[in-house]
Amino acid sequence: MGYVVDRDGLDQLLAAIRRRGFRLIGPVVADGAICYGDIESSADLPAGWTDEQDGGTYRLRRREDDALFGFNVGPQSPKKYLFPAMATLWRENPAGDQQEQRPFAFIGVRACELRAIAIQDRVFLGGEHPDPHYARNRDKAFIVAVNCGQAASTCFCVSMSAGPKAEAGFDLALTELIDGSGHRFLVETGTGRGEEVIGEVPGARPARERDTQAAEDVVEGTVAQMGRVMPELDLRDLLYANMEHPRWDDVAARCLTCGNCTMVCPTCFCFSVEDVTGLTGEQAERHRSWDSCFTLDHSYIHGGPVRTSSKSRYRQWMTHKLATWIDQFGTSGCVGCGRCITWCPVGIDITEEVATIAADR
């Protein structure tokens, strides 16, 4: 049915995970935002913080309570660890054994992020050539999800069927409850491994009917608060039929092609490959780093880039995310997390762009 732990119990839970050799990664306040970083206990979590988000806007604000997860998503996502911004793909004459890295335990993963991980799993592991680097980071990863207690104005996971409740892909899922019965967490198990871990938490007690009901109310409250909506249409058909719609010129006049959206998007996966040698030319290596379809280089073939205009690059990003992704991988590439809206310097809103094109049908 479920369990309930208080804040001490949560620390026992985290300790139990750490004892198993995992490296705990969770939300932390850093550089004026809530990012992901190494944590040891609940003391490292952004207690009492929330975020205010809108197109091109992100601010941290103090809450009136001490909620540990009382915020939505920041500029980073588990992609930071599963598909890091820079990696070495290959070394000529690799020196010695590669150090075993501790598997990751992601604490506080939102439903939209779970969906994004599933989407990247499909990209990196589901094709003919699974990526060994992603596989190594993803393998054994422990996931403690959190059901959102509030929605930012830029959230639209409901209309993308990607939240706010975590449905699958986690070992444990928490719902934070702060009410007359105290500050506690409903814990749902998702795997046998999760069951084992909660079994090692002395402070865990079985959930009562009113705990479960309170958790459901929290989720319902979040659903009601959703800030935006992606139009409920066949986006693939809509965008395929409108590749030369005048709206693309309109958005191009605003888009700076800065690529922020691709950096913060939890599903964007483009990367570039660079071959280097050491200064003496003795050791050749191949490096991978995040790339963005907004760069001119991205579509470069001898003679020049194919996508020179910002219009063509914005169109590429949006139609890939919402339409061609479906043909390529069987699902949408968008999880409704709203990061692209928040972190766009000019506040371009992907839901608004779709709605405008759709209004013309």
């Binding site: 073939i301 001898h302 003679g303 020049g304």
Partner: protein, 160 residues
């Protein structure tokens, strides 16, 4: 117009050339009156740049080319013609046109040399004939323009 008792031998050659496919046989007879069956050996110029352009050629066999010469570049071939092709279309405009290029035989040709002034006279008398010829030559000019544009794009010269 009087129908001849038996078809002029040139009628047959005109009819067999794909350019006049579908043309009324009576018109073919008319056209035959402006036609000359020629055999031109390799290397001979059919016309020179600057000469009055008052004829055209229906190539039946062999190869010809439109060429232009420039100092330091020698002679450059801009288009080649073979069996089934038509060489020359500015005669129909009636302006005092001159050839812009040299026409030269590359491999001995069998061709029908058509007298432009003669044909224009017949078209003036019978506008329907004029329309038939105009349609065909408009298509030819259009096709040639398209090909020329594609050559101008120098697609192989630019990588990609």
């Amino acid at each position: 117009m009087p129908r001849t008792a038996e078809p002029h031998p040139l009628d047959r050659l005109l009819r067999d050339h794909q350019f006049f496919a579908g043309l009324d046989p009576d018109y073919l007879t008319l056209l035959a009156g402006c036609a000359k069956n020629v055999v031109v050996p390799q290397g001979v110029f059919l016309f020179r740049e600057g000469e009055p352009a008052d004829k055209f050629f229906l190539i039946r066999d062999g190869r010809a080319a439109l060429e232009v010469a420039a100092p330091g570049r020698g002679a450059i071939v801009v288009q080649s013609f073979a069996a089934g092709d038509v060489l020359g279309f500015s005669w129909l405009t009636g302006r005092q046109h001159r050839w812009q290029f040299d026409g030269r035989v590359i491999e001995r040709i069998h061709a029908l040399e058509m007298d432009g002034a003669c044909l224009r006279g017949k078209c003036d008398q019978d506008p329907k004939l004029g329309y038939e010829l105009m349609r065909r030559f408009a298509a030819l000019a259009s096709d040639t323009l398209q090909a020329t544009r594609l050559q101008l794009l120098d697609v192989y010269g630019h990588v990609g």
